[in-house]
């Protein structure tokens, strides 16, 4: 579904790349998470796949076609929601369909359907400033789902939310993605979030490269049992931590740590 090959990105005249020869394949229906320390290029990769950033080199192929610009077969959920404050929940969700020229009746009906899916059917006419952070991000999720994309991109979507809301939305996303067999590329800082949601976790390090890949074999649906109590969880978490710690130590050695 998504093939990323040799993706490279230099910002401006920077000598160090934000991404260097980044490769990744995501199969149809697969949930893949990019994880790594700040500045490792995971958001850069996601923005290039979305088409919001131009790559300096390499290629992104979505569903067999080269992808260099935003298109209706990809949808993104932003960390800061990026909802339009002058639109209601309903018309925010209908936004992508409106851009595609879908008739008003049809797009509003579909928007209603997706607000229902994220549990906001009683907040249809509310404006973003009348909704909580969690509710806003559910609107953001519904906006992305409403255009029925082949590829769903999520850029630290729960980073701005409190822990409880976060867990609630994680299980909601897990269920929706499983039900709809969505192909997802997800970016996060949180190891637990990555393990809970993903079929596969890609660990990135600076500058912008893959330093490890892990398949998560915990059986789904994961909200039905205490997945953190399983030995698989403990093992994969330990390995990812070790990798991230080593990476952080290396970065600190290069830049000079404050703890020496």
């Amino acid at each position: 579904m998504l093939e990323i090959s040799n993706l490279t990105k230099y910002y401006g005249d920077a000598e160090v790349p934000a991404l260097s020869s980044f490769n990744l394949n995501v199969d149809t229906g697969e949930f893949v998470t990019l994880i790594g320390p700040s500045g490792c290029g995971k958001t850069t990769a996601l923005r290039i796949v979305t088409g919001l950033l131009e790559a300096s080199g390499g290629e992104v192929v979505v569903d067999g076609k080269p992808s260099t610009a935003p298109s209706p077969d990809k949808a993104i959920v932003f960390q800061m929601f990026n909802l339009f404050p002058w639109r209601t929940a309903l018309t925010n969700v209908a936004y992508g369909l409106e851009l595609q020229g879908v008739g008003k009746k049809e797009r509003l009906a579909k928007a209603r359907q997706y607000l229902d899916l994220v549990g906001l059917s009683n907040r249809v006419d509310h404006y973003p400033n009348q909704l909580s952070g969690g509710q806003n991000q559910r609107v953001g999720l519904a906006r992305a789902l409403a255009i029925e994309p082949k590829l769903l991109l999520m850029d630290e979507p729960f980073g701005a939310l409190d822990a409880l809301t976060r867990e609630h939305l994680q299980s909601m996303v897990a269920q929706i993605c499983a039900d709809k067999n969505l192909t997802v590329l997800f970016v996060t800082h949180s190891v637990d979030e990555a393990i809970y949601l993903s079929d596969r976790i890609v660990v990135m390090g600076t500058p912008g490269r893959v330093i490890g890949e892990f398949a998560v074999d915990l059986k789904r649906p994961r909200h039905t049992y205490d997945w953190r109590a399983t030995p698989e969880y403990a093992a994969i978490r330990a390995e990812i931590w070790r990798l991230l710690q080593a990476e952080l130590a290396q970065v600190e050695a290069l830049t000079g740590s404050a703890y020496e």
């Binding site: 979305t50 932003f78 595609q100």
Partner: protein
């Protein structure tokens, strides 16, 4: 807490803080008292030869308003509304274009900045010379007074649109026109309205000054003639009418702005434009 504490629910105390508190929560009491005090002072200390009296102005009001002010106002407002409408129709698109196109920005920036800074009243004599003293001149004076604040504010507002919102539009594959319509314009509306308010005030000043200058038609001329012939009753009637008109215009703009830029406040409110 200030929402709950109303004058009526407060204990009736005689001390100053209680009174001050109550007055703050019934704004009309002090507003009316303040105006009444001014009128009384005017009545007491005014004189027939330079200020007239409130009672004389009130007595002159009906006749003067119907026979002098309304016809003069007709001339003034015709030029004013036509010129201000043209300022909006020309100013908003130019401001948007400057913000979205680097080429247009570079080409127009010098004029807009220079003309915004120049006192537009300085152009009145030459506009009179070119266009005479009738409708065209008024129209032009209002246009040059109103269009630059509108261009500049629209331009600044459209430049400052939240990048996150633009990202959202781009990510959902919006074209340039769609980005303009669905993001840039709604996001810059508060700035555009600020431009309208500024432009409105400047236009109003411009047209009155032009009428005083030309001494032929309009309410500016009426005020000028009345003052020159020491008819202070009529002059005050015209000036008060102008003041009331300005309040009506700016209130209308304020409410239109609230209605369009804060849609979440609409619910449960009196229908536009009667809401406050």
């Amino acid at each position: 807490m200030s929402e709950i504490a109303t004058g009526a629910s407060l204990p009736k105390t005689a001390d100053g803080t209680g009174l001050a508190h109550r007055l703050r929560h019934n704004p009309w009491v002090l507003r009316i008292a303040s105006v009444a005090l001014l009128l009384i002072a005017w009545q007491l200390f005014g004189n027939r030869y330079s200020t007239s009296f409130p009672t004389d102005v009130a007595r002159a009001f009906p006749h003067s308003f119907v026979h002098d002010v309304v016809p003069a106002l007709g001339d003034t407002l015709k030029g004013f509304f036509a010129g201000f409408a043209a300022s909006i129709v020309i100013g908003v698109p130019i401001g948007l274009l400057m913000a979205r196109s680097r080429l247009v920005e570079l080409a127009l920036e010098p004029y807009v900045n220079a003309l915004y800074a120049t006192p537009r009243l300085a152009l009145i004599p030459v506009l009179i010379l070119w266009l005479g003293i009738d409708f065209q001149m008024r129209f032009a004076v209002v246009l040059v007074s109103g269009v630059f604040p509108i261009i500049l504010n629209t331009y600044l507002g459209a430049k400052e649109v939240d990048r996150n919102l633009l990202d959202a539009g781009k990510a959902y594959a919006a074209g340039e026109l769609q980005i303009l319509r669905t993001i840039v314009i709604p996001a810059s509306l508060p700035f555009i309205f600020a431009g309208f308010r500024l432009g409105l005030a400047r236009s109003f000043i411009g047209i009155i000054v032009a009428e005083i200058e030309t001494s032929v038609l309009g309410i500016g001329n009426l005020i000028n003639q009345d003052a020159k012939t020491l008819r202070f009753d009529g002059m005050w009637v015209a000036i008060i009418t102008l003041g009331v008109l300005s309040i009506i215009f700016s209130t209308f703009l304020k409410r239109t702005e609230a209605w369009t830029t804060r849609p979440w406040e609409r619910k449960g409110m009196a229908p536009w434009p009667f809401r406050r």
